[in-house]
């Protein structure tokens, strides 16, 4: 039972975790049995984070009813929260940076030094909305990870064979500063917790296989309408500066992934908080694939190079690419390996979502598969409501990716057809027959599969198992 602990730092960290959760809900293969996400962000009110939190909470509830005995892959990978918390809440809530560093209590000489290092704007920055693209203050403020209950829970929970992955952006504030700090802390021996005691299992944490993805610029922001310090003109310079520092990280991580997109979308300018709600982007999905690549058992010999003393011999660097520089990406534009990974799970989950959205209400009264099992109040059950909430998030996630400059548009989202919703020349097998067409074919397969599902499963478990087996039968892409 191996676990993968994923630290998602800043807004990008939260959005990549959202994409990863979508992939896991759809049943993309994951080499870890359990994912433990930990989001590190100073800006706890940002909408990207709260949307990810809602999604993960719903996923966890649905995972409880995802059958593990049968063939089902939807929601199969367990997501676990440490202390029932997704976010690593920094204990210090000082709002202004100069208060945080205690500038007013410093000697005159030290105050002068601080004023040399930080601009007045930076010193007066309200940090409740994050570091607003200032890694120089992030690296000061975030130096308190270990002084945290979640961090202790992380160490206590950690076991031999567990892995660590860090997601951060390189062009903002929180991610760029948090990543090297966190990496360093995780590999520092004998770290003490808030109570002054050594953190348990820390030796295992120090030696754990560790990977990271550093997300380079893939969006820009419009001009500021408030007093925000975020300026996308500096994204490239900041990335360059950070990358030159990251050179020193060589041989400190097993695998380091980089990703970027030159065709950047312009987002509305928000310094953070409730208004920071960036649309999902294909880069975040590809970043989530990096996480899956890292734990892929078939890639073990490529991703990890350790000597007999478990020291890293060299870091594997990876990038993600697509076949063509298309402005609108569909499955055809992806490399074979990515196609193999994504087409079946995403299409099957989409079919499941579409059926629930367009057909289930009407047909559950009549179809034998639903009779006395999934009709009447079945849809009002909490777990089923949450399953449908994840379906809705999934659909919105796809729609958001479609509304970017670089669109990821694998499906025709307005299609009311059961099978013609997959764009491009993707052969998912012939499902329709002369007799059964469109949604009738799906109902026919549901009616056929219900007898093959395990009767010992709980009703909700059987429901997910049934839909997995049915969609697997109907959509079967082979490379």
């Amino acid at each position: 039972m191996s676990k993968l602990y994923i630290f998602g730092i800043g807004g990008t960290g939260a959005r990549v975790l959202k994409s990863l959760t979508m992939l896991l809900a759809a049943g993309v293969d994951c080499g870890a049995d359990t994912i433990v996400p930990i989001i590190i962000d100073r800006d706890m009110s940002n909408k990207d984070l709260s949307r990810t939190k809602l999604l993960i909470e719903d996923y966890i509830d649905v995972n409880e009813i995802a059958a593990t005995k049968g063939k089902n892959k939807f929601f199969k990978t367990k997501i676990e929260l440490l202390n029932n918390e997704l976010c690593l809440q920094l204990k210090d809530n000082t709002q202004k940076f100069d208060d945080f560093i205690g500038k007013s209590t410093m000697s005159r000489e030290n105050q002068a030094l601080v004023e040399m290092l930080f601009s007045e704007e930076t010193l007066n920055l309200d940090m409740t909305a994050g570091f607003q693209g200032n890694p120089n203050i992030g690296s000061v403020v975030l130096n308190q990870f270990d002084n945290n209950d979640i961090f202790k829970a992380f160490a206590t929970d950690f076991n031999e064979g567990d892995k660590i992955f860090i997601i951060s952006s390189i062009f903002g504030g929180t991610g760029a500063s948090g990543f090297p700090l966190l990496r360093k802390l995780l590999q520092t021996p004998n770290v003490k917790g808030a109570d002054g005691q050594d953190l348990p299992n820390w030796g295992l944490v120090n030696d754990a296989l560790a990977g990271a993805i550093s997300v380079l610029p893939y969006f820009v922001v419009g001009s500021a309408s408030d007093n925000s310090l975020v300026n996308s003109d500096t994204f490239i310079d900041k990335s360059r500066a950070a990358l030159s520092y990251y050179k020193t990280e060589d041989k400190k991580l097993d695998t380091l992934y980089y990703i970027a997109d030159k065709r950047a979308t312009t987002y509305e300018h928000h310094k953070g908080g409730d208004e920071q709600k960036n649309h999902a982007h294909f880069v975040e999905l590809a970043s989530a694939l990096a996480v899956l690549d890292f734990v892929n058992p078939e890639k073990k010999n490529i991703n990890f190079h350790r000597n007999n003393e478990r020291k890293i011999e060299y870091t594997t660097y990876k990038e993600f690419g697509i076949n063509t520089d298309a402005t609108e990406i569909n499955f055809n534009d992806l490399a074979d390996e990515t196609k193999k990974l994504l087409i079946n799970p995403l299409s099957r989950f989409m079919l499941f979502r579409n059926y629930m959205d367009k057909v289930f209400e009407k047909e559950s009264k009549y179809q034998p598969y639903a009779r006395k099992r999934f009709n009447n109040d079945f849809r009002k059950k909490e777990t089923i409501k949450k399953l449908e909430a994840v379906h809705a998030y999934f659909f919105n996630w796809l729609r958001e990716m479609e509304n970017q400059n670089r669109k990821f548009s694998p499906f025709n989202l307005t299609s009311s057809s059961a099978f013609d919703f997959i764009k491009g020349n993707v052969n998912t097998g012939k499902s329709e027959t002369f007799s059964y067409r469109n949604w009738a074919k799906v109902d026919d397969e549901l009616n056929a599969q219900i007898g093959k599902t395990d009767k010992a499963l709980k009703n909700e478990e059987r429901f997910i198992e049934l839909f997995y087996c049915t969609t697997e039968k109907l959509i079967n892409y082979k490379n």
Binding site: E363, P368, Y436
Partner: protein, 163 residues
């Protein structure tokens, strides 16, 4: 057992009349015994067969209107029942009207004659053939329901149709 079907048809004898029933039982006017072919059995077996064909088609044939996920409503089953019933209606009507028109029905069952042999009254009318067709519609319905109860459980898409 030989008389089972005839007895069932006789539940509706008041519709098609005693004389047509006698003909169908195989009454021979010359020998004055029932040594003719029992047409209740012949028509009944065909009726059972036709009902069975429609029921099997409805529950197992993968075609629209039959074993199809959009045909598992009670009214679809009712439509098939009516189609089977109408087919059997015409089977029974056709059989008896054929006998009626071709003089296959014994004279003693067709007419009442006086001492000179003149027809006093007609005992079987064309209308009785229609009403026998209607009776067969009801018999068809009974067997359609019976076959449905027995066979529906193996159907993929219609096992809960009509209920």
């Amino acid at each position: 057992m030989e008389e089972l079907l005839g007895n069932m048809y006789c539940w509706f004898e008041s519709l098609f009349g005693q004389y047509l029933a006698e003909h169908l039982w195989g009454y021979n006017c010359q020998t004055q015994v029932y040594d003719g072919r029992n047409l209740f059995n012949s028509i009944g077996i065909l009726t059972i067969g036709i009902s069975l064909v429609f029921v099997v088609a409805y529950y197992y044939l993968p075609l629209i209107l039959f074993n199809h996920p959009r045909s598992n409503r009670w009214w679809n089953w009712l439509i098939i029942l009516i189609i089977a019933g109408v087919a059997n209606f015409f089977l029974a009507y056709g059989w008896t009207i054929n006998d009626f028109l071709n003089g296959n029905i014994g004279d003693c069952l067709m007419f009442t004659r006086d001492a000179e042999g003149n027809i006093v009254s007609q005992l079987i009318h064309k209308n009785d053939c229609w009403l026998f067709g209607l009776s067969n519609f009801f018999i068809s319905t009974i067997f359609f329901i019976a076959w449905s109860v027995i066979l529906k459980w193996g159907s993929r898409n219609c096992k809960y149709s009509p209920i």
